[in-house]
Amino acid sequence: AQSVSQHNHHVILSEAASLELGCNYSYGGTVNLFWYVQYPGQHLQLLLKYFSGDPLVKGIKGFEAEFIKSKFSFNLRKPSVQWSDTAEYFCAVNPATGTASKLTFGTGTRLQVTL
């Protein structure tokens, strides 16, 4: 079964700092990868997703993520964070083949951006 690790549980950054949140997955086959965000009091929203092709994917609100197959990683980045980026971020993986079609999520990273 696949699993997802997000090693940073709580990250505190000042506004304008650069962000990188780690995500590693364990699964031997081809995968689809996702980052979701949960702003305080709101529902989970899709930030970006990777299916195939260019390993650098761009999402909403200036976020991007890079898929490095050799490292089983899909780290989320943003060059300059804003206070409004304060939220919880979840990485998720789904096997690209097979019938057990569900997303497996990491435990999340809580990002706090200070002014």
């Binding site: 529902h43 979840f90 999520f105």
Partner: protein, 113 residues
């Protein structure tokens, strides 16, 4: 387009009771997923329904069950509630499978006292 709707928003039950949570997917979506989001544990997969059938089940005891109706809406039932069942229960929908990601509802906050 209406999003995924869940009801009720909050639910308070006593230990041993049963809880029923409801979910209406986005129009046209045939798959419904249920997750439990407990503090510090991320999203734990509970159940996946597609076209009225249970397709996959997570590592939860049988007292967690559900069904999907002909209009693709779904309900999650939790019997013999325990204190540790207190969590946010999230429903998500997709157009047949998870390959393109989900759209989530806002969740039902279940508190067991």
């Amino acid at each position: 387009e209406a999003g995924v709707t869940q009801s009720p928003t909050h639910l308070i039950k006593t230990r041993g009771q049963q809880a029923t949570l409801r979910c209406s997917p986005i129009s046209g979506h045939t798959s419904v997923y249920w997750y439990q989001q407990a503090l510090g544990l991320g999203l734990q997969f509970l159940l996946w329904y597609d076209e009225g059938e249970e397709r996959n089940r997570g590592n939860f005891p049988p007292r967690f069950s559900g069904r999907q109706f002909p209009n693709y809406s779904s309900e999650l039932n939790v019997n013999a509630l325990e204190l540790e069942d207190s969590a946010l229960y999230l429903c998500a929908s997709s157009l047949g499978g998870a390959s393109y990601g989900y759209t989530f509802g806002s969740g039902t906050r279940l508190t067991v006292v």
